[in-house]
């Protein structure tokens, strides 16, 4: 039997989930230390900021009160499983074909028709099409793996004064240290947005969550014309979430 989710995917999924929750909530605590974002290399005057960020309340932060030292302790610790995890899942996805099979898009996937069709299929009662990801899923997951997660990692590295000596080019690419800090903040909210959509969709069917533990079962498209299905869409466990 072929698992719908490889062991590497499941392992990474839950470690990463824990890491990004800690990173996000400690990040909000760190944001409270200086609630202004700038573009360029420097910035310290609130009147020069492009964004004055709200003060995040205690229920949204780790720890639940303002403590920059402890928030940073958690943040730079959770950065390890997050950063190594992104590296790990990319290697695993390339090695086991998950990337090529489920995340690479063809030009046809980007047409409005393909997007509408996949949204319609999603809103129906778990209609078929469970073989692989639909175009919307490919585009969303591709954006998360290809853009948001690496951006989060590289902007985090770039704003560390000890890392910049290793890769000064990274700051140039990102437009300076304060730009990197702004992008770190923006990417964090991008990941949060994905997290919310992902959670809402996954909660529509508890089997989806269970499968992220057990691995589930992947149904390959039959190689030969098969006899007409006698069972209805039962097998079609949707692959979203």
């Amino acid at each position: 039997m072929i698992r719908k989710h490889a062991l590497s995917t499941r392992l990474w999924h839950w470690v990463n989930a824990a890491a990004i929750i800690v990173l996000f909530m400690t990040g909000l605590n760190i944001s409270n230390a200086h609630r202004y974002l700038y573009w360029g290399d420097y910035g310290f005057e609130p009147k020069e900021a492009w964004l004055a960020v709200v003060r995040f309340p205690g229920w949204a932060t780790i720890p639940g009160h303002y403590n920059l030292a402890l928030a940073r302790d958690w943040h730079i610790t959770a950065a390890w499983p997050f950063g190594l995890g992104v590296l790990f899942i990319w290697v695993a996805m390339l090695a086991n074909g998950h990337f090529r099979r489920d995340l690479t898009t063809s030009p046809g996937d980007w047409t409005p028709g393909a997007v509408i069709a996949s949204l319609k299929a999603h809103s129906g009662a778990h209609a078929g099409g469970a073989h692989g990801y639909n175009p919307v899923q490919k585009i969303l997951y591709g954006g998360v793996f290809g853009v948001l997660l690496p951006l989060m990692l590289f902007t985090g590295l770039a704003i560390s004064p000890g890392f910049q000596a290793a890769a000064p080019w990274l700051l140039d690419v990102l437009g300076g240290r304060q730009s990197a800090r702004s992008l770190h903040f923006i990417a964090a909210w991008g990941i949060f947005s994905f997290f919310v959509i992902h959670l809402v969709l996954a909660l529509t069917d508890w089997r989806l969550i269970l499968e992220m533990f057990t691995g589930g079962r992947r149904h390959e498209a039959p190689p030969q014309p098969a006899p007409p299905p006698t069972e209805p869409a039962e097998e079609g466990v949707p692959a979203h979430g």
Partner: protein, 249 residues
Amino acid sequence: MVDLPRRSLLAGIAALGATACSKINESQTAHGLFEAAEDGHRTLHRALAGKQGLAPEYTRAERSPTFRGNGSVTVADPFYQQQLASGFPDWRLEVKGLVDLPLALSLAELKALPQRTQITRHDCVEGWSAIGEWQGPQLAVLLDAAKVRSEAKFIVFRCADTLYGRDYYESIDMVDAYHPQTIIAHSLNGEPLPEKNGAPLRMRIERQLGYKQAKYVKAIEAVTSFADIGKGGGGLWEDVAGYQWYAGI
């Protein structure tokens, strides 16, 4: 704080997954985990950048229009205030501790040493950054002149300012002490340091955050350990707030 075996980092990562959601902030486990993570970052930074890898330097046009003063911006000590008013004629920078030739240098003597000028970015732990042009002798020149002993593992900076009723101090290891951009700055943007930025002398340790850049420096001390200084954290903010001793992240 010193190099932990790689094993402890891996154990730390494993422990994170197991305990991330429980309230372990103050526990021994959490403390060991945080320290392993911090040491891991320092080891990674130094492996990738090399011990002598330079922080970016900027052009004069890229400097920030002003340079923010933060933390201590004034010093209460009457001797300091009297010296500030008269241009620090009697200020002496001591180099002491594990050295064969203790020194006490005037500002004029420091300015007569070979100078390094660098336009660098200062990153506060809070998140903001400022860029300024600093000038002063390299710390390495002073340590060599004082003949620092081989058993010295850390350099401690003793300062004239106080915060929360404690004398400000900071410490770095010998890698950062001998880094080419580690200087004792006496000027900012071509002028003597203003009081808010640490007159007459402040440290520049360019691969670490702002709280490591000790201001109002009175003495440089070579030690084997900082466990007996202050509360043993290696710096005032480390002691009073629990900030990370390695501030390269």
